[in-house]
Assembly symmetry: none
Homo-oligomer: 148 residues x 2
DNA sequence: TGGGATAACATGGGATTTTATGGTAGTCAA
DNA sequence: TTGACTACCATAAAATCCCATGTTATCCCA
């Protein structure tokens, strides 16, 4: 599972260290890493190949001409299988760098089954937005289910 | 699996480099590459021979005398098994070049089980269309499905 | 509990390999 | 013999690999 938040530097080659805990999670699952454009936010989403594979399989089950199928295919096109170097770094593709307005710093945000990579300023925007909602409306009602 | 988007040049002999990751995918599957006219868009679709076979089988399950079956057969007739040169390039047949309005640049768009080859301007159209749908209707529902 | 030793991590830089692409020579058929 | 097609060579640019280093975190023993 991907948890916790951390800040890492992006160098001139668009390399960035993926937080060690995220890497260990992927290693334990023996899963390659996929990065793609978030469909909800101006940030990058990271997840496992298996999870991405589920989206692909879903496309074939949809009406091939539907909007949903179309959007999913566009999402695949903006997805990249990413390899680590020996030090646990990855290169962020140009397309994703500009989509998420990344330059020299990245904020990693674990959200369970996947994680986000934000630019510091977009992250702050989003953080403030959610704080505001929390103050105005109070915490969301959460109903926790038992395991299994 | 075919993922990611990239832009390559088409030379005067209609040669173009297939992105290395797409080539490696085909090699791993030990599958020949098939190029054919997309049934939905003014672009070329590339896929494996095995998947092409599945398209053909699907046509056979239609009413053989229907207009749909005839139309699909016409489209499939312009399918080509493509060979790579030693550098990973292919020659795009004239019929497909003009069908997709290709001239000097090609956009390769991986969509999972197959990939598209677009002219840059058509690609931009499609991309803008997807952003519009995303803004108006939000992300596809099945994104929210849980594991298993 | 403190503080030094050790390991893990993040990051910079340079060497090496891969990739994309232009070009040329050879082959076959009309 | 010409034109189209194929196979292969050459090169620049880009991606990748791997070593070096400083910094932070962890461990262990006094």
């Amino acid at each position: 599972m991907f948890l916790s938040t951390s800040h890492n530097k992006i160098d001139l080659k668009c390399r960035v260290s993926i937080p060690a805990s995220f890497r260990m999670n992927l290693e334990k699952l023996k899963e390659p890493l996929i990065l793609f454009k978030s469909l909800q936010f101006p940030c990058i989403e990271g997840t496992t190949l298996t999870r991405m594979q589920r989206y692909i399989n879903a496309i074939d089950e949809l009406d091939a001409l539907s909007d949903d199928a179309f959007l999913l295919r566009m999402m695949m096109a903006d997805s990249f299988e990413i390899k680590f170097d020996i030090n646990g770094r990855v290169v962020i593709p140009d397309i994703l760098m500009s989509f998420a307005s990344l330059t020299s710093k990245a904020v990693f945000m674990g959200i369970g089954e996947s994680f986000y990579i934000w630019s510091p300023s977009e992250y702050e925007n989003q953080y403030n937005k959610s704080q505001k909602i929390l103050n105005e409306k109070g915490p969301p009602k959460l109903i926790l289910k038992k395991n299994e």
